[in-house]
Subunit: 361 residues, 2 copies
């Protein structure tokens, strides 16, 4: 796997964090973090990073695969996960351990406390939840490839978005096209929301048939080697009236103003404010009911968040979405979403579709 | 939604459990349990079942949908989930609360402990994890429909399982066929494992092309209105040699013996023993590396488990899989899986494909 990024620099950065966190080791239970730090892609396991070689703990299904995928770790087989972790901690003589409280279930921590009585557990969600926010060049290539697969699939499916075709059938065809073009999976359940349904930010594609005069929101993405893409296009079917053009123009302006703010050192909250300000000024403030964006990588939603409440600051190498929207019950909605890379002096859009208003069907 | 089962009897059974559990209320965080008890299908929320009408707590995306889907519950909006739950507990004056420790994260319970200081939390995983094990007639209809959709899709895809076609392309076609025939989704990532890959119980479909002499394991299922199906067929491509026939016959015998044991009151461990005994006697004991089956419903894997360690006992209305297998590294593997309903005097197979050895391609 020549273009699979090396995990060694990631472990090195983590050790620096370890020294600053007043713990002797980190226990990872989040499988995406484990994949990031080792390369292991199995569906269950745990990772212990302390002073020595990282320990990757897996069950009997995964010993062979773990050895092949995670050359930087020592693979340890467990029969019972909590017991296996407790034994590893005891063997290493580790007593202060940081963990991810959003990934650990109460059942798991209870089991660990019972089996590793000497260990003191320190929740470190904020630190460990953000270790993947800045992407390295290998990751950026994989995300870009995912975005290209997705765009190719949408191009080949576009002629299906026309009056008389139901939302669900478009979603099925688009997902099939992504898979056929190499995607491991869709990034999430594809949203095809038409007419009044487009006013629901989280609509599920249903039996409604596209009609002339509809907005159709297409929110979709592909997974390539574990990395996600995320993009939203809103099309006007059969023509765009004055109200369609007005609403679209406001969202496009919000999207463009947010893009212009992007560079290292900018507060994520200020990016959100740039988009939100445009929409508020146009009188639609209450119709933009979600944040402006989020990080994308091994998860389709990951750090940082771009919202009014975010404390995060942009760094070079972050991959984020910019996705303002306006949702008008009964009429319809517009969301315009690009996925972008924060670069030294600005940002580069990784998604491929034009975000000018397109009339189709 | 006329054939959507009523949730009222489920809440009644739960209240009986509440009285026996020395708590005043149950907090549900498992979304499948919440769906089961209320009908709500959203992607986030919490359910509090105490003395009065159940409280369904959701965020702003889901208030409309929750009101429509969950007429038996009172819908409460939260901005922060832990705060919303704490406020509801306080408003009801509830201080002893049972919860699902395998569904609650440490982060969530920490937040709840900080915000609802008077509440004592009782982990009740075993009791709450099994509330869905016995299916009602409405659920059995939905599971049966899922199995029929899946079988129709496999029948229409069967001609693709032939020499020269790669595993991944067969998986994509089969999943597309399930979606096109009405499935909401595949039950899980479809397994198409050919030749030596069939010796891996959890193989992922890859670029290997089918060859004459291969076993091809097809482990697949469809989701219909939230309910899953699960079935495995093993085909012989282009002919079956003596070893193929021998191994297949042993697994088939194990499968049939296990089926014969099924009736209410039988220990799940004994069902496993019936299958395992046949395989051990034939000398392949170490090559059957997983349990004999599991419950199926809103999750594709749920209570009860059928393994050497299981403490569960079969009850009328349980829907379970019977799926023995033999895996021979380098040669290939056979798994034969049916999904069955435990009935008053025995069991009825819900999956549709013949489990006799079929030579195809």
């Amino acid at each position: 796997m020549p273009d699979q990024p090396s995990t060694a620099p990631r472990i090195s950065r983590l050790r620096a964090l370890l020294r600053r966190s007043n713990v002797e080791a980190f226990l990872f239970l989040d499988l995406k973090n484990i994949r990031y730090l080792t390369g292991f892609t199995g569906s269950d396991g745990a990772l212990l990073v302390g002073a020595g070689k990282p320990l990757l703990l897996v069950d009997g299904r995964y010993t062979t695969q773990a050895g092949r995928e995670a050359p930087g770790a020592r693979v340890v087989l467990y029969r019972d996960k909590a017991s296996g972790i407790a034994d590893a901690l005891s063997a290493q003589g580790v007593e202060r351990v940081g963990f991810e409280p959003a990934a650990a279930t109460v059942e798991m921590l209870t089991g660990l406390r019972r089996k590793a009585k000497k260990v003191r557990w320190t929740p470190l969600q904020e630190k460990l939840g953000a270790i993947r926010a800045v992407k390295d060049p290998g990751e950026i290539r994989l995300i870009g490839r995912a975005a290209r697969i997705a765009a190719g699939a949408l191009r080949s499916t576009l002629e299906r978005i026309r009056p008389g075709v139901c939302e669900r059938d478009i979603a099925i065809e688009l997902e099939y096209a992504m898979r056929s073009m190499g995607a491991e999976a869709p990034s999430f359940d594809t949203i095809i929301a038409s007419g009044p349904n487009s006013a629901l930010p989280h609509a599920r594609p249903g039996s409604r048939k596209i009609r002339p005069g509809d907005f159709v929101v297409v929110d979709y993405g592909a997974v390539w080697r574990g990395y996600h893409s995320d993009e939203t296009c809103t099309f006007a079917v059969g023509g765009a009236g004055r109200r369609h053009k007005k609403v679209y123009a406001v969202v496009k302006e919000a999207h463009d103003r947010a893009l212009e703010t992007l560079r290292p050192g900018v507060a994520c909250r200020d990016v959100d404010a740039a988009a939100r300000g445009v929409i508020e000024k146009a009188g639609y403030g209450s119709r933009f009911s979600h944040g402006t964006g989020h990080g994308v990588g091994l998860d389709v939603h990951e750090a940082p968040r771009l919202s009014t409440l975010s404390d995060a600051v942009l760094e070079q190498g972050m991959v984020i979405t910019i996705e303002p929207g306006i949702y008008l019950p009964g009429f319809g909605g517009v969301r315009i979403e690009d996925m972008v890379l924060v670069e030294k002096d600005g940002a580069r859009v990784l998604t491929e579709f034009s975000k000018e208003l397109q009339v189709i069907g």
